[in-house]
């Protein structure tokens, strides 16, 4: 089936490509950005999601295309074939998809009516169909048929879905399903226990009760991590602990004292964008994915919150705010400011072990792990501070400033111009 043509955006990809995830018809890594010709003349893209080794794009027509490793039916084409170029998901024809999410090996699609469809690997219950079967075609999550889902996020083996009640934004509900061994669902699994490793598998969507009435407006997941952002820009984190800290099975407020407008999670780190267009990072910095050079002093780059925390600890460890201590100790979260070349950032994306952001001037900056060329800098060397990616585009700069988006997967990167 041909992907509709009407022109508009340019698509670029680079990094790990041995499963066809770069959409260029090849099965090799690319160390530098290459233009994805199959999508450059396609219909305008409104959403994109990069998983373990597969990618989903949503067109403004409501159509969906997928490519990459087809294991367990993650591409939704009815088989397990790997495809190296975008292929329309024909079974969703006639259903208007508006958003998508991609986990390690499962995919989720949201319709304009708030219906949730999933496909791919279901071994951990991450498809929400009440079993551990895989689905070769997108199947509706019937358990959520009575609610309107507004956002979905996929981690390695789990899924989060959020429903906002129209007219009462504070009454949003977050649902979680899939693997819960690291607390990534934000719920207690005692009630669903049925022995062995199965006890960690939640097969039907469950409400994350502790997030009720916090006014959650976005949910995020990757690896064994989960996050939610409220309408007031407050961040909740749960799941696997950062920097070898204990896991947190309950969402915890990670208050930086700043209003956040976007979050993106990696496998061991996270990124947050503030309303002041600053980027903050936390978690493991083993590959430079925090963008904060280890050689430079970090004391000046931390948030006031962290500084205040440090001050409190020095003053009186015992009397320090318990919540703040818990947040630091349980999750190992220590927000550090990423220097974004003196230019404000408007979009962020965390890959498994690398990071990227779009600046106000339309430039894309990257940092972190580079072993598969996922930084697009032509080299395999990790970078511990942001570098600008050079894209040989003919696009007018003013258009790039408005539209550019970057999406990072597991060892690869896509840019929409």
């Amino acid at each position: 089936m041909e992907i509709g043509r009407c022109g508009g955006r340019e698509v670029w990809s680079w990094g790990a490509g041995t499963h066809g995830q770069l959409a260029c018809g090849t099965l090799v890594d690319a160390l530098s950005p290459q233009r994805v010709e199959a999508l450059c003349h396609a219909a305008p893209i409104v959403d994109m999601a990069c998983g373990g080794a597969h990618v989903v794009v949503v067109f403004d027509s409501g159509g969906v295309a997928t490519w990459g490793r087809g294991q367990a039916g993650v591409l939704g084409h009815g088989d397990e074939t790997t495809t190296t170029v975008p292929r329309l998901v024909s079974s969703l024809h006639g259903i208007r998809i508006t958003r998508a999410a991609a986990g390690w090996n499962h995919s989720a699609f949201l319709t304009d009516k708030g219906e949730l469809y999933t496909c791919g690997d279901g071994a951990f219950g991450q498809l929400g169909h009440g079993n551990t079967e895989s689905c070769l075609l997108p199947c509706r999550v019937e358990h959520l048929s009575s609610v309107c889902i507004n956002m979905v996020a996929c981690g390695m083996r789990h899924t989060l879905a959020m429903s906002i009640t129209e007219g009462s934004p504070d009454a949003s509900i977050v649902y979680a399903f899939g693997f819960n061994k690291r607390g990534q669902l934000g719920i207690s699994t005692n009630s669903t226990s049925n022995g062995g490793n199965n006890k960690w598998r939640v097969l039907f969507p469950q409400k994350v009760d502790s997030l009720d009435m916090h006014g959650v407006t976005s949910v995020y997941a990757n690896g064994d991590h989960s996050a939610a952002l409220t309408g007031r820009g407050k961040l909740f984190l749960w799941g696997r602990g950062y920097n070898d800290s204990p896991d947190s099975p309950k969402p915890r407020l990670a208050d930086m004292g700043l209003k956040l407008c976007q979050v993106s999670l990696g496998w061991r780190h996270g990124l947050a964008l503030t309303e002041n267009k600053e980027v903050f990072a936390w978690g493991n910095n083993g590959c430079g994915q925090l963008g904060v050079s280890q050689a430079s002093p970090t004391s000046g780059t931390r948030t006031q919150e962290s500084a205040a925390n440090q001050h409190m600890k020095e003053q009186d460890e015992e009397q320090a705010d318990e919540t703040r201590q818990a947040q630091e100790q349980v999750l190992g979260v220590d927000f550090q400011k990423v220097e974004t070349q003196g230019v404000g950032a408007v979009w962020i994306s965390a890959g498994s072990e690398h990071s990227a952001a779009v600046l106000e001037n339309g430039k894309v900056i990257v940092w972190g792990w580079a072993e598969h060329g996922q930084l697009g800098l032509g080299s395999l060397e990790d970078q511990d501070v942001p570098h600008i990616v050079s894209l040989a585009t003919n696009k007018v700069a003013s258009i790039c400033e408005v539209n550019t988006r970057v999406y990072c997967g597991s060892g690869y990167t896509f840019v929409l111009l």
Binding site: N105, K181, S410, G411, Y412
Partner: protein, 83 residues
């Protein structure tokens, strides 16, 4: 340095590869065979990159002489480290 410590029960048996696997952040899979486990190997490598993980398991579970038993979490039982 080991990328992560992963319990054998969290790895998946891959019939095609004839190995226990776990997702690697590069998109490929960390892999370790039953034969590896039998000789006490605890490193699962990714064929596509330099990363590897440490597999936490009880070697006795993979000995021929041992009675067959289900793989259990190392929690409760000491994780055996074999160098």
């Amino acid at each position: 340095m080991s990328y992560d410590d992963v319990e054998i029960e969290d790895m998946e048996w891959n019939e095609e590869l004839q190995a226990f696997t776990y997702p690697c952040p590069c998109g490929d899979l960390f892999q370790i065979t039953k034969a590896d486990l039998k000789i006490g190997e605890e490193i699962a490598r990714c064929p596509s990159c330099s990363l590897y993980i440490t597999v936490v398991y009880n070697p006795e579970d993979f000995q021929d002489s041992a009675p067959s038993q289900t793989l259990t979490s190392s929690k409760g039982a000491p994780a055996v480290k074999v160098s």
